[in-house]
């Protein structure tokens, strides 16, 4: 056995002397806490302190969390059945309803990252054989096809080129043809940066007697989301984007029509094929005030992550939804204009661009992956490449939550300009920042 470092040995010595045998009580066997010497199959590894690099997280998420959110995670643990915890969960629920603009009583944090809340939506609202009309215009549409099919959904894909959005007429026609049980749509497609107009979709879902489910992971808090006015029946989100929370806890909301679907499944003897995310059970733990049943333990909630989400939502509530939406919009428009100045184009049309996540076209002749590496190595900035059909074609750059500020947009543009120069990128003289000599590229030692 190797000592991890010198501290270890001091601790071990102190402990050995502190463990004096308890005086025998004459009833129990002699104290056994001085365990016999043991041999370990796996030896004590040598691991030092963890020093994460400083990063400005300008990719598709996580973003940098708000410092107050980090501070909240330093607050001491309380139990998941403690009245103080359950009261705090109520505050989270209330602020989630505000952020989503919904009155749904069933609005809860799930114990996992955004994909866990998504899985919960699939597990609870899919009967085997249900038809899901999936609006696929990006990577995450494909993920829904995969996820929902595992719960027995028959998948009908309505497809568009990645970066475009669907018209209500297209959705209506597909519903008329296929008679789905659920329409799934990404309000904010994190792989493409496109924002799907949601008007009329709720009406279409009602006309065709199906549920409308929406992915709002990259929109909640950062741009107008109005679940009730849109007629969305079920939605999920993530904390690590415009809410400035670390990933690890994920909002989920079900409206009346979704709850009716759950009740019908229960009445038909259909069990949710996922214990951890069974919302019939979570309901008894988290939704008592609305449903009038006693609180029942289900699983241990992620205490510190709940503190984090509460603080993140508190910050959003203090700022005000409209102010947060404006701030995101301002930073994004500033960014888009700065990109133009260095000759870069956005992948998505102006009117359908997400303020939270911009896809920037990689210019011809430029190695996009090298630019990502250059920004990380020279500026400690994280941006991401494209996924799936957009791999190698775009960069994904986020301006979300705490990071949605002009100074970050300006810095990313300056770093991009340098990275492009390092690859000898030519910019026309008409641009605000035309090409200059490439002295820096050799200085930085990259091509």
């Amino acid at each position: 056995m190797r000592a991890a470092h010198r501290l270890t040995q001091r601790v071990a010595t102190r402990q050995a002397s502190a463990i004096a045998p308890t005086a025998g009580q004459g009833v129990n066997p002699a104290p056994t806490h001085m365990l016999p010497p043991v041999s370990l199959l796996v030896e004590q590894p040598e691991v030092g302190a963890f020093n994460p690099p400083k990063r400005l997280l300008m990719g598709p998420g996580p973003g940098n969390a708000h410092p107050r959110v980090h501070a909240a995670m330093a607050l001491p643990q309380i139990g998941h059945m403690d009245g103080a915890f359950l009261q705090m969960a109520e505050e989270i629920k209330e602020m989630l309803r505000y952020a989503w603009q919904t009155k749904n009583p069933f609005t809860v944090p799930c114990s996992g990252t955004g994909s866990a809340a998504w899985e919960a939506l699939c597990a609870n609202l899919t009967s085997p054989g249900d038809k899901h009309l999936v609006l696929v215009n990006g990577y995450f549409g494909l993920r829904h096809c995969d996820m929902a099919s595992r719960y027995g959904a028959e998948i009908i894909k309505l497809e568009k080129p990645w970066g475009e959005v669907f018209t209500p007429e297209e959705v209506d026609a597909a519903c008329a043809e296929h008679k789905p049980d659920m329409i799934w749509v990404a309000h904010a497609e994190t792989s493409t940066g496109a924002c799907q107009p949601m008007d009329q979709l709720g009406e279409i879902a009602r006309n065709h007697d199906c549920l409308l489910a929406a992915d709002t992971v990259t929109s909640i808090g950062g741009l107008p989301v109005r679940l009730d006015e849109w007629g969305v029946d079920a939605a999920y989100a993530g904390g690590q984007k415009a809410l400035s929370c670390p990933p690890g806890i994920a909002p989920l909301t079900f409206g009346d029509r979704a709850l009716t679907k759950m009740d019908k499944r229960t009445a038909a003897g259909e069990q949710v094929k996922n214990w951890y995310l069974d919302m019939n059970m979570i309901k008894q733990y988290l939704v008592v005030n609305d449903f009038g049943v006693p609180r029942v333990y289900h699983h241990t909630a992620p205490i510190s992550m709940a503190y984090a989400l509460r603080e993140a939502l508190g910050i959003l509530t203090e700022e005000g939804l409209e102010a947060s939406w404006s701030r995101h919009r301002d930073a994004a428009e500033f960014f888009w204009n700065e990109l133009e100045k260095i000759g870069l184009e956005c992948h998505v049309d102006w009117e359908h661009r997400l303020p939270t996540l911009t896809t920037v076209k990689i210019p011809e002749g430029i190695d996009g992956g090298k630019v990502v590496t250059y920004l990380r190595e020279n500026y400690n900035i994280e941006i991401a490449g494209g996924l799936g059909a957009l791999a190698g074609k775009v960069w994904r750059i986020g301006l979300m939550g705490y990071n949605a500020r002009r100074e970050n947009a300006a810095l990313v543009c300056a770093a991009l300009r340098d990275a492009l120069d390092a690859q000898g990128y030519y910019r026309a003289p008409g641009l605000l920042y035309p090409s200059r000599q490439h002295s820096r590229s050799s200085f930085h030692g990259s091509a």
Copy 2:
């Protein structure tokens, strides 16, 4: 719209003045970030700062996290695909192997609480129609029956009174009779405080050609766990018990025989019926060094919780496994002796008691729930009542991780004594602390 407090208005004013329109570039439409005045369906809620009560968490978990773990969560976010994050995940995996005493390459943190890792075990290692021999001697055995049956397992219960343990002969005979595909056992039954001897179970599983799965949620770090020597094929744990980490990230390990089962399922075209916890996909994200495939994004990992688990495991590694086991044993034996002094009895026989979690019999005539409330209200101490068959019969008191110290055991005993006095509990004169007059009960205003 109501202002949450005065700060809100100041922030809003500052923001409005900061958002001067970006100079028009002549190409795009006029900036739209000055969004038109909006009406909100759900108004800004009034939520103040969160002040969790100070609690000494002496129930079945979570316990109080180590202060260094809280400090680790304050470190800034990095991305889940950042090389620095993936390197840190490798350190987590290495230290988990140490804590569990296993050489399994597939040893990963799952993105959820302990039950998520458990669900992952069920989802990945259960083929529809598989027989699970479930050793039920407590609440968590019943949970496995529920969870595994959702993935199509046929459940065979081997039952014992809650608080007792199984002999190898009993398990062997049940295997011979039922020919199961998996034996599930709680090494540490958190509902009863019983520690299941694990010797011979691995051999029995091999003799009957089935997997051995173990719940080590309340044992990892706190008492000897030797997965490889025991022949355990798959196990999961929680962070919030003897590892002194908050809940929200959960260790999972699969040995060769478990991985073979996964591969057989894949070869047979069986899909894991859970996208979030599909270990075939997680393997491509977290286990590249061992399997030689490139890292592939699956879902956003819980960054801060990973920092927390790494720090918690680092603390365990510094102390040393044997020292941690000894410390837990010492605190527990001290506690058991102190309990005797006030006339309280443990539910589990001395030789099968968990040092991490003690079930204490509620004396006749005492309202156990009132004692729990008394400790919380008068001492800010959390203990828990029994679950299922032990509801109303025992208290569950934990000495886990950072909290496994004599001073905590002494304080809980003092508080219990006071709470019992408040209910007029009679202690025989022969005890170290015989009954005294009940003047305190009226002083505290509870009966």
